[in-house]
């Protein structure tokens, strides 16, 4: 997936002279996860460059560049470190079009690796996506495979509104079944990992049904798509798995149709439970599909604690937690 992201950035730098990439260590070195490897050499130092370590500055400068007419694509090294820049995102980027009535806009895409499962401890593992969905004026996008990562990132960069693009770092180099003790499978062995070299886009706001099924609808995104798939394959439950891809704006049609078909809905994310995006999904599903639901919408999430270093696999919503949830929702 990291190569797909790199390719999306490369394609956009090539196509659009307004695209600029900046962030901590993204320049000469190419990013701590190598997302921007080779891009400075290819596109030059004024298009791809390192920045001072101030997330407030990175995002604030991005807002100014966007106001000038560029399409900045800043990287925040870890989603855990986005908070010092949150005011610039929430109060500025997200509000610019509205408060100026279209006088100024903010076509900026903030990329940031998020999520756990890499023994990163509590400050390299967080999943803060739900906060952004609460902020009107920002789109929140999360890919789950290389093909989508490239197509969605290109669409995000071309979007004329600010987008937060969270990249599930656990699956940068291969999908993850949730069995942390099994060997890592590279993307190359994975279906749908073939990524065309050229430009293509995947429309924001459209979910993907990654498995059709009749028994229960599972709404998920990012790393958890793969964990859910593995558990479903193992247990043989006829689940319909929907990879949301864009959390906001949400693809409510796909969700509603599926839940009305299956009559059951499970929501899965790695973020802490309380006021996680699962809450919004559960709320909407019961609002829209109440009379079709045969069981309560079930949330399977990370716990309401910081991400613990040594107990990370007891924290992670892995196969056991999922299997138990499937048992419960199918029994109800």
């Amino acid at each position: 997936m990291i190569e797909a992201i790199n390719s999306a950035l490369d394609v956009m730098l090539t196509r659009d002279p307004d695209v600029v990439i900046m962030g901590e260590d993204v320049g000469y070195f190419g990013g701590v996860f190598r997302a921007t490897a080779g891009l400075q050499r290819k596109h030059g130092k004024t298009r791809v460059f390192d920045t001072p370590i101030t997330e407030c500055g990175i995002i604030g400068v991005g807002v100014g560049m966007a106001a000038y007419g560029l399409r900045p694509v800043p990287e925040i090294q870890f989603a855990d470190y986005i908070y010092p820049g949150l005011d610039q995102l929430v109060s500025e980027a997200a509000r610019m079009r509205y408060r100026s009535a279209n006088d100024f806009i903010c076509p900026m895409t903030v990329r940031s690796p998020f999520g756990g499962g890499i023994f990163g401890g509590q400050t390299h593992s967080q999943s803060p996506e739900s906060m952004f969905t609460h902020v009107c004026g920002i789109k929140t996008v999360i890919p789950a495979n290389p093909y989508d990562a490239k197509g969605l990132l290109i669409a995000a960069i071309e979007d004329n509104d600010p987008v937060v693009f969270f990249e599930p770092k656990r699956i940068y180099n291969g999908p993850f079944s949730g069995y942390y003790d099994r060997p890592v499978e590279p993307w190359s062995k994975h279906e749908g990992s073939a990524v065309p070299e050229d430009y293509y886009r995947i429309e924001l706001g459209k979910a993907a049904t990654v498995r059709e099924g009749e028994a229960v609808t599972v709404l998920t995104y990012g790393t958890m798509v793969h964990v859910v798939k593995a558990v479903v394959a193992e247990t043989g439950i006829d689940a319909e798995i929907i990879d949301l891809r864009t959390l906001l704006p949400l693809d409510i049609e796909t969700i509603e149709a599926s839940v009305k078909k299956t009559g059951r809905c499970m929501v899965v994310h790695e973020a802490t439970r309380t006021s996680g995006f699962g809450a919004e999904l559960a709320a909407q599903v019961q609002e829209r599909c109440f009379y079709h639901l045969e069981a309560p919408v079930e949330r399977v999430t990370g716990f309401d604690t910081p991400y613990p270093h040594s107990l990370e696999w007891a924290y992670f919503p892995g196969p056991v937690r999922l299997a138990r949830a499937f048992d419960k929702i199918m029994k109800d």
Binding site: V20, T46, R47, T51, P52, T54, C56, G57, I59, G60, V61, G62, V63, G64, M65, A66, A67, Y68, G69, L70, P72, P84, D87, Q88, S91, E92, R95, M96, R97, Y98, R99, S100, A101, N102, D103, F104, I105, C136, G137, K139, D159, N160, D161, G205, L248, P249, L250, I252
Partner: protein
Amino acid sequence: MAQRLKNNLAPLRLHVPEPKFRPGDKADFSDIVVPPVDALPRPDEAVKPAEIHDLAYGLVRVLDDDSGARGSWNPGLDADRLRLMLRKMLLLRAFDDRMFRAQRQGKTSFYMKSFGEEATSVATAMTLQHDDMCFPSYRQQGILITRDYPMIEMMNQIYSNRGDRLKGRQLPIMYSAKDYGFFSISGNLTTQYPQAVGWAMASASRGDTRIAAVWCGDGSTAEGDFHSALTFAAVYNAPVIFQVVNNQWAISSFSGFAGSERTTFAARAIGYGIAGLRVDGNDALAVYAAMEWAANRARTNNGPTLIEYFTYRGEGHSTSDDPSAYRAAEEYAEWPLGDPVERLKAHLIGLGEWSDEQHAALSVALMDEVKTTQKEAEKNGILGHGLHHPFETMFEDVFEEMPWHLKEQCAQMLEEQHDKFGDEWKPN
């Protein structure tokens, strides 16, 4: 936690700043040092920042005590341009007066005057190119007035009426006018600082010639954004002009709570290795000269400058504020640097290019102009009196295209309005 004295050490003490005067005190500013004109002459614009540290502690002045324009900083403006500057400051003052009054009359919710600080927006705007981008705080309405932005647009915005280009969404005075090089004002302090740097960096990276200028208050310098901005500008040599309007007060807190007891705001520049100037903010010609110097510097790839305008907030922070609750009543009258309008007027009179009569006549004429415009604007409505933008506009511009959930909410809102007002509810 008990006090612990150890090794016979004296206890530590917390210093909490206190302004010199409080209500009831007699203001006495005799300790403020006003150096003579040209105490620190104007250096070349390409000078190295390390060579001009003293300018961050001095006070650039042009208008002397006898109102003559003197010294190497004198920008040498002709009488027409001086009169234009005076006119703009007077117009700004008239505008402020009327709009303040409109708020008091209940025609809008909020207003902020710039009384006493007019030079810091008018004279600065006059030095910039029309397409340089200004990133103002909420107290630089003088830029719009100087750039001939239609005053009625400002009033429409203040009234949040159906003519408001910002569709009634923003608090009064939070203008936005891209065509006039005036960035959308934020309610959040100092966020414009990194944004200005970003704009300037973009301009530089495109080989453009336009520069950015940004303003904030003394109190606002404490925000982290200030530091992020100066760091970025120093690193990339961004063509940006940082300005701190040190009007001595935040809301009720004096500048000591932003660090002024120890040093000047211009001296912040030294910490980043960029040029810093401290300027008599009530001397319109000094303001002009400093800004012109910084603009030349930025435009010739010599990098950013930080300018502190030493001035005084002549009235309340906003219409929500009552300064008599926290500062001495007569501070403005005692202010050692005088009033920017009066000083420029005296200068022009001294040149034989102006008179008290002309001044009085102009003041009346400008006030009439403002009043006439105000009447026009009020035809578009005042706040809370129905003549606002259509309700649907509330959901526009959140995104470029309205997503389904906003469409749903918009439909719901329209039904609510119908329930509320019946069939004739639709205003406009």
